[in-house]
Amino acid sequence: MIDESGLLSALRLADSFLPVGSYTISYGFESFAEEGRVETGEDLRELLSDYLYGQVGPCDMVALSAAHCAARQGDVDRLARVDDRLHATLLAREFRESSLTSGKRLLDVVADEHAFVDRYAERVGDEARGHYPTVLGVVSATKGVSEYDARLVCGYAFVTGLLGAAQRLLRLGHTEIQRILHDLFPVIESVERESADRDLEQLRSCTPLIDVQGMRHERAERRLFVS
């Protein structure tokens, strides 16, 4: 496929139409909603900012950039190291499982579209793990989506995924959800800037309450989401 600007591929990867199971994942948000810790649009905006500053920027985007770079250099071994680092950083079991399942599904969806992606996919389940940010970085790199654009795709898709979950779990209207999405654009841009120069060794995550809620979700009685 020729996609010189990478724009169409970026749109495809950011779209909730991409069949990688995002609509089943809440990364602990279901526990926040279930316990009444998030009720209003303002609560939601603040919580999503915490996700972005504590997790998506310093962890997912940093991993994505490292994977993007490794893919440009054709270094499959380094991708396995990115996966390992992510695996060690995601504390809640369901977060790791959600990331792995989506990553494998994305590899499945783009199978046979690029030889390097297939080379990495062959290692997944054996020497590599296939976490979503890693796969997203690899796929972006091979499709001409720049590292910068790929980080924004990562942030945007994360936010829209959780806003979709919020709309199903809380009583929030579609225009309010769009306002929150719009309000979060500067936050996505800000965490992108902060993560841009970090290398894999600086990958970190600091979201203690989100991690606890993710772990509580494992034992929740009512579960609409896998995490």
């Binding site: 990688v20 609509y23 994942i25 399942t101 989506s102 599904r105 199903r168 579960r223």
Partner: protein, 208 residues
């Protein structure tokens, strides 16, 4: 070395239909009979709210199906998405069955209770039965929902309740024949009536 089996290597049968139509009851009837004919079966329940259906299956099939061949899949309150637009999580569940049971013969996929428009993605289910009940009204087939029209098999369940809710089975039979090209079978999952016909259709069109 040949690659390990994936969801593409095992026959899959979807069981869809509205809430309370008898999907779970049908699967409870089908599994022991399919098991008796020597098949190793996995069951996936796409429950909307809880793991309740999956737990019910585990209890019901104890001794017949290993516990790890019965799983519930959460679909984020979008049961139709889970079986149609984005079956990722169901495919992942089938793949994980096959890691432990590479010789699995069949996977039954129960959808969450959904509306009449729900159809199964053909990459997820090789064949699907849509279950409706007489108690939902005898005009259901006439409404031409894609679930009813496109299904490989239409199962009209709870025939015993028809007389109590004023549903005319002849009307349902003739409307179903008008809107569908495939077969329709009447069942009463409580007594087991019609189950052998459902099995025969699955054997004929999926397990040949």
């Amino acid at each position: 070395m040949s690659s390990p089996p994936t969801h593409r290597d095992v026959p899959t049968v979807g069981i869809g239909g509205p809430v309370g139509s008898g999907k779970t009851a049908l699967i409870k009837r089908l599994v022991p009979k399919l098991k008796d004919s020597g098949l190793e079966i996995g069951v996936i329940a796409n429950d909307i709210l809880t793991q309740e259906d999956a737990e019910q299956f585990k209890r019901s099939f104890a001794g017949e199906i290993p516990e790890d061949l019965v799983v519930g899949v959460e679909t984020g309150a979008c049961p139709h998405t889970g079986i149609r637009e984005d079956p990722s999580m169901n495919l992942a569940a089938i793949d994980s069955f096959l890691e432990e049971y590479p010789d699995l013969d069949l996977v039954l996929l129960e959808s969450g209770g959904d509306n009449l428009a729900a159809t199964f993605n053909p990459e997820l289910a090789d064949y699907y039965a849509f279950v409706i009940s007489t108690a939902e009204g005898d005009d259901i087939p006439r409404k031409r929902g894609p679930g009813v029209v496109e299904a490989d098999l239409l199962v009209i369940n709870k025939t015993d309740l028809a007389e109590h809710v004023g549903a005319d089975l002849d009307v349902m039979r003739s409307d179903a024949a008008d809107v569908r090209e495939g077969p329709s079978i009447f069942t009463n999952c409580k007594t087991g009536d019609g189950i052998d016909d459902v099995i025969a259709d699955i054997e004929d069109r999926v397990l040949f």
